[in-house]
């Protein structure tokens, strides 16, 4: 048991799914004195359940970081760009990491745990993958900026400024999870997920609690500083298994997945692009002008996609208005009985992402951190389902 009683710990990205669970465990199981940096109190409700020290500020501003980090022995850097353009995300990933490292150095922190990603290995191939594999650009803003951030973190550590341990998790799922929990569930409700090559590529999923355990170990274990560790679950998991678990949570109903070859998936995407080129503009025009259209639109499952889009571009007032219109009632949102769900297009990039049978090795984390994943996909998904049910997602 890692004892952090009375020790000051600083966490960035605490309002996210991983950071949120990390804070929960730091406070409840390890007795740590936790301080967090948050941009908008609105997203910090889950954190406010605990007696934490809150600092409002931005991870890219040194003065905010210096104020928040003061006296912290341990730093967990989980923040990454989530708002604005892809370019801005990348900027936050790079500059935010640099500023956090500098602030940790100035504060004399004993250890920084930097949350990186499997994506720093770019497009991986079939077979075993460990930390000796070359880092490569994947070609999107998130992956490439995380690659730069990780390189900076390791450089910082090796030059002796502040000891940094880097974790490279695979697909993280679990309660309060976004990318690999809430999004797939919402997607499977809205349409059929394409399983590239029958979904036999490897997802290498990891339950959020296993990742948090690895992060805690990385914050205290000798030999972790200056090193990167791949973190995955106990067994390789195919994308089919992962998506079928999510689909099962949604209960009986229409088919929620569809198998395609990579070529078919790419062709489907091109067809979809051609067919919908002008739809967005048209939709917006009708949405603004036609009350009956709005009302009918609100009753469709496709709306979920629009909501996603809306949350990033529309002003608060309009969002509130839309939200109000979508207040449920007994007759709205009818599942089209017997109808087939539309096939959700996959970008060519995602098609490539789903293909390889990469077997992520966690031997290094086992050896140096003493990491041992405790959650099989089955168990992790059972707990995730309990949460998803409570959260009205299934």
């Amino acid at each position: 048991m890692i004892d952090l009683r009375g020790r000051k710990v600083f966490v960035t990205g605490a309002t996210g799914g991983i950071g949120g669970r990390l804070v929960e465990r730091l406070v409840r199981h390890h007795g740590a004195d936790v301080r967090v940096l948050i941009r908008n109190p609105s997203s910090a409700a889950r954190l406010a359940r605990f007696p934490l020290t809150f600092h409002m500020g931005d991870v890219t501003r040194s003065e905010d970081l210096d104020r928040a980090i003061r006296g912290s022995e341990l730093v967990f850097h989980c923040a990454y760009g989530t708002t604005g353009s892809q370019k801005h995300h990348a900027w936050v990933n790079r500059v935010g990491t640099e500023r956090v490292l500098e602030a940790a150095h100035r504060a004399g922190a004993a250890r920084v745990v930097h949350l990186s990603t499997l994506m720093v290995y770019g497009r991986t191939g079939d077979g075993d993958l460990d930390e000796t594999a070359p880092r490569r650009r994947f070609g999107n803003a998130y992956s490439d900026s995380k690659l730069e951030a990780e390189a900076m973190a390791l450089q910082y550590s090796r030059s002796g400024r502040v000891p940094v341990a880097v974790l490279q998790p695979t697909a993280v799922y679990g309660p309060y999870g976004g990318v690999w929990t809430t999004k797939p569930l919402q997607a499977l409700k809205a349409g059929r997920q394409i399983l590239v090559n029958g979904g036999d590529g490897f997802a290498n999923a990891v339950y959020v609690d296993d990742l948090v355990s690895a992060m805690l170990l990385a914050s205290v274990k000798d030999g972790a500083a200056g090193e990167a560790f791949l973190i995955s679950g106990p067994e390789p998991v195919s994308w089919r298994e992962l998506y079928e678990r999510f689909a099962r949570m949604l209960g009986p109903g229409p088919e929620r997945t569809v198998s395609m070859t990579a070529a078919e998936a790419r062709a489907h995407y091109r067809k979809h692009q051609r067919e919908t080129a002008h739809v967005h503009q048209e939709l917006l025009r009708h949405f603004k002008q036609d009350q009956a259209f709005r009302d009918r639109l609100m009753a469709t499952r496709e709306l979920f996609a629009l909501r996603e889009m809306a949350s990033s571009i529309l002003p608060e007032g309009l969002q509130q208005k839309i939200k109000g219109r979508m207040s449920g009632n007994a007759f709205a949102s009818p599942p089209r009985a017997g109808g087939e769900l539309p096939i959700l297009p996959l970008t060519p990039e995602m098609v490539d992402f789903y293909i390889p049978k990469t077997r992520v090795r966690i031997d290094k984390a086992r050896r140096i951190l003493g990491y041992e994943p405790a959650f099989s996909l089955k168990r992790g998904m059972e707990l995730t389902e309990q949460w998803a049910r409570w959260a009205d997602l299934v």
């Binding site: 409840r28 908008n40 889950r46 207040s327 449920g328």
Partner: protein
């Protein structure tokens, strides 16, 4: 006719998004001064809404205005209101009215003593749907009521100016105090007073983000209310009667309402409407609230939601916190869950 002169205390999100636009749109009131501890913010907001004066201390408004809109952090609602009411300044207080019944009573006593109007900003009462549902239930259209089930959950994106809501000392409570007060007030409007409550939430030394009430009303009717800041729930209240069921959207001024007889397939879905009236917006609701407050000041009458009405939901909130048990979180592993349930 001369407009009623108002001060707006606090230049945070609710002042900028709701109160000041409503005062600008009102025929009966005008903003004479805005107050914020942050002088720059006060000046910026004043310039944006064309308010002639600013101040950094609320006490400066005494003698310069007829009434004040108190849109400060929760912990300041009661002390500031009491001080102003004692000096004869009418108060429209943001919700929650106060952080305890004792504070509510002090506010009511101060208003009674000076004769200044005290209005509580439980703006959901100004929705036409609120009134319609009340009438529909009172008319017995559903037959004898068997249960109610209210689920209100929104992952908020409110642009808070400060983090007062994250601190116990400034917020007073979590989601029950902040969001919950609105829906509890609705239940009290619709169903009358309550008899007993079973209450669970997820606070662990801080403020609850999710809570659940099992409520028994004086009428004997029982039901459930759930309020969340971490989940998007259906945001409706469902009433089941022995003849019909009713579902009304909450958290929006013009929600859909549906009525259904038993299990019959065909029901009625629509909106509550005054004849010829357009869709009700939040701006309309806040204008109604400001107009009611201004009229109460001018005519010396009681506002639509006086202090004793605001006190009702506060009493329920206080009873909830006193009866608090840990909310069940079934996605934790057994060992952790046991500790959680034990409140450890």
């Amino acid at each position: 006719m001369q407009k009623v002169r108002l001060a707006v205390l606090g230049c945070g999100a609710v002042a900028q998004i709701n109160h000041l636009p409503a005062i600008s749109a009102s025929e009966l009131a005008e903003a004479a001064v805005v107050v914020d501890a942050d002088a720059a913010r006060a000046r910026e907001v004043a310039a944006r809404f064309g308010v002639p004066e600013t101040a950094t201390d609320y006490r400066e408004v005494v003698g310069r205005v007829d009434g004040a809109v108190v849109a400060l952090p929760n912990s300041l609602h009661a002390p500031v209101a009491v001080d102003l009411l004692r000096q004869g300044v009418a108060v429209l207080g943001e919700k929650p009215m106060a952080l305890s019944l004792r504070e509510c009573d002090e506010m009511i006593a101060a208003a009674d003593a000076s004769g200044a109007a005290l209005a509580v900003g439980l703006d959901f009462r100004f929705f036409d749907s609120t009134r319609f549902v009340k009438d529909l239930l009172a008319e017995g259209l559903l037959g004898e009521l068997r249960s109610f089930d209210l689920r209100q959950g929104v992952i908020p994106r409110w642009p808070f100016a400060t983090d007062f809501l994250l601190r116990k000392e400034t917020a007073g409570g979590g989601v029950l105090t902040d969001f919950g007060v609105h829906v509890l007030d609705l239940l009290l409007v619709w169903l009358g007073d309550w008899e007993s409550v079973d209450y669970r939430d997820d606070a662990m030394g801080g403020l609850e983000s999710d809570c659940e009430l099992r409520l028994r009303m004086l009428s004997g009717l029982e039901g459930t209310a759930e309020v969340s800041r971490t989940r998007n729930l259906r945001n409706t209240c469902i009433f089941e009667g022995d003849r019909a069921s009713l579902e009304v959207g909450i958290w929006h001024p013009d929600p859909p309402i549906t009525l259904r007889f038993g299990r019959r397939e065909i029901g009625l879905a629509g909106k509550a409407r005054r004849p010829g009236a357009p869709e009700l917006s939040y701006l309309d609701v806040f204008v109604r609230q400001i107009d009611d407050f201004a009229t109460a000041i001018r005519e010396g009458r009681e506002p639509f939601i006086p202090g004793r009405e605001g006190r009702r939901s506060q009493a329920l909130i206080e009873a909830c916190y006193a009866a608090r048990k840990p909310l069940d979180v079934p996605w934790l592993e057994p060992a952790e869950l046991a500790g959680w349930r034990a409140g450890a």
